[in-house]
């Protein structure tokens, strides 16, 4: 890419990022609640509940401009990679990391792809349920990715983030958001205990995230 094209591209990315955060604020009045961790520019994996396409926009709107620039949401490749337009939106404009959940070739291994992003010093937003939650359950069981990542890169902080109300703002299958107030609760970092098994760790991370819901009785 020429220098000018690259500059234009970076500018476009910044405008998109600032614009989406501003939009998220106008629509949902989103406010971070730091409950156990604080904003920081150290390398992190933010893991959150997933009910809506808007989830990662809301989460990244709670981060500083500097952090946001190096934080990438992990998105489903078989959905966002399906057309050139989707790929452009997801990868180029929103700088998401696309992974394929039904991978076959070794170079498609999601954990390897995510590790390569972490190795550039960047942070990730991960939805360990693996898909948007459409059930009555507040939170689906976690997939293994979170465990594999933290075993491979234990120095990266795992921060649980409860995203409130997005399922009401933009339910799956809808494209117009209802402007309701949203909050994102950031909890204390989670680490693997010595000798802790995969399933035990995933269940504990699951419970930690669930416990952050500020109004559990209203999760409807």
């Amino acid at each position: 890419m020429s220098k000018l094209a690259l500059k234009t591209f970076t500018l476009l990315q910044t405008v998109t990022s600032v614009g989406l955060s501003a939009l998220a604020w106008v629509v949902t009045g989103v406010r971070p609640i730091w409950n156990g961790s604080l904003p920081s520019d150290r390398q992190r994996i933010y893991f959150a509940n997933h009910t809506s396409h808007g989830d990662f926009i809301l989460l990244s709107a709670c981060l500083s401009e500097k952090e946001r620039a190096i934080t990438h949401a992990v998105a489903a490749g078989e959905y966002w990679g399906r057309s050139r337009l989707r790929r452009f939106i997801a990868q180029d404009m929103l700088s998401s990391v696309l992974i394929n959940r039904q991978w076959t070739k070794p170079e498609e291994n999601p954990v390897e792809i995510m590790l390569s992003v972490l190795d550039q010093g960047h942070s990730l937003i991960l939805f360990p349920e693996g898909t948007r939650n459409m059930t009555e359950e507040p939170l689906l069981p976690f997939r293994s990715g979170l465990y594999n990542l933290t075993m491979a890169r234990p120095e990266v902080e795992l921060i649980p983030c409860w995203i409130e109300n997005m399922s009401r703002v933009l339910p799956k299958g809808q494209f117009l958001p209802v402007p309701l107030l949203c909050r994102v609760v950031f909890g204390a970092p989670v680490t693997v205990a010595p000798g802790e098994e995969r399933r035990a760790f995933l269940d504990r991370a699951h419970a930690t995230l669930l416990a952050l819901n500020p109004r559990p009785e209203r999760d409807d």
Partner: protein, 311 residues
């Protein structure tokens, strides 16, 4: 008109400056760390500076400014109200309609001064159509609760709030071109009553008015606040079409309604298990925490002026 406005603005600046100085002196003398009451007091006064500044700007843009400002206040209030109440996935289109159709249409009616439709659009047409849409969706779980919450949300946040800019559509003989001052009068008196109730309550409050609904409302605060705000209304009669006695009476009715509005808002919050409606205004909570009294006072004030002062 210029003269009236200057006096109002200077008056507000004097009150706010005094409040800021008093809060600064209290904070300087108080033991550190500051008590939560004192921190909250300073936050509230700072928020008042911002709110008065915004109102003043809207004031200078006249009809445009007021209509847009109150449409935005409706938006913020409705957002808080709906967030607080139970909705189901199948309510999505009704909720979208509340924000995307009802708010713009109601304020368009204000703008065009179409009184006949303005007064019945929400309480008649929306009240019939909204539950009809919900019923068409076929989701009957907690049906009555959901539609009641939606109807009350638009009633309070859109219908009642829109009566404030609607004051600009009234033709009061001998008061032409000065209707903005009616809005200023209503807001200063009702919000003043809130502040005075807070002050009287903090200083002399002993007997709770309604402990099951709101622990902070006392008889002393209510009487002291409403009486002094009525006197404030009499003092401000020079900006209104009212005589001083009439102004005091109108202010008394508006502030009493304002008190009841605060009580209803507290009851709703208590029912939903929250302390504040939201977090929009530092020290005050959400938009509804600030406008609950105005919301109840506005339609009554509007109708008093309309029935007794217009032709």
């Amino acid at each position: 008109m210029r003269h009236d406005i200057s006096i109002l603005i200077i008056g507000l600046l004097v009150v706010l400056t005094t409040a800021s100085i008093v809060a600064a002196i209290l904070s300087a003398r108080a033991p550190k760390p500051l008590s939560s009451t004192l921190v909250n007091l300073t936050q509230r006064i700072n928020a008042w500076w911002v709110m008065v500044a915004l109102m003043t700007v809207a004031f200078f843009f006249g009809r445009y400014g007021m209509t847009i400002l109150f449409a935005l206040i409706s938006f913020a209030s409705l957002r808080e109200f709906v967030t607080l109440t139970h909705t189901s996935r199948s309510d999505h289109w009704v909720l979208l309609g509340m924000f995307g159709i009802i708010i713009p249409f109601q304020y368009w009616l204000v703008w065009t001064a179409w009184y006949g439709l303005f007064v019945i659009f929400i309480p008649v047409y929306c009240f019939l159509l909204m539950p009809a849409i919900t019923a068409l969706h076929g989701d009957t779980e907690r049906f009555l609760e959901r539609i009641a919450a939606q109807q009350w949300a638009v009633m309070i946040s859109v219908y009642c709030v829109s009566h404030v800019p609607a004051l600009l559509t009234l033709d009061v003989p001998g008061f032409e071109g000065r209707n903005l001052l009616l809005i200023a009068f209503l807001i200063i008196v009702v919000q003043g009553s809130d502040v005075l109730q807070y002050i009287f309550g903090k200083l002399f409050g002993k007997h709770r008015f309604s402990p099951t609904v709101s622990p902070s409302k006392t008889w002393e605060g209510l009487i002291g606040g409403v009486v002094s705000a009525s006197l404030l209304g009499a003092l401000l009669s020079f900006v209104t079409p009212f005589s001083p006695l009439q102004a005091a009476c109108v202010a008394f009715v508006a502030c009493s309604m304002g008190f009841l509005g605060g009580l209803v808002a507290s009851a709703i919050k208590r029912d939903q298990g929250v302390k504040d409606w939201g977090h929009l205004i530092e020290g005050h909570g959400g938009m509804m925490d600030r406008t609950d009294s105005l919301v109840f006072a506005a339609p009554i004030f509007f109708h008093i002026v309309r029935y007794f002062w217009t032709v």
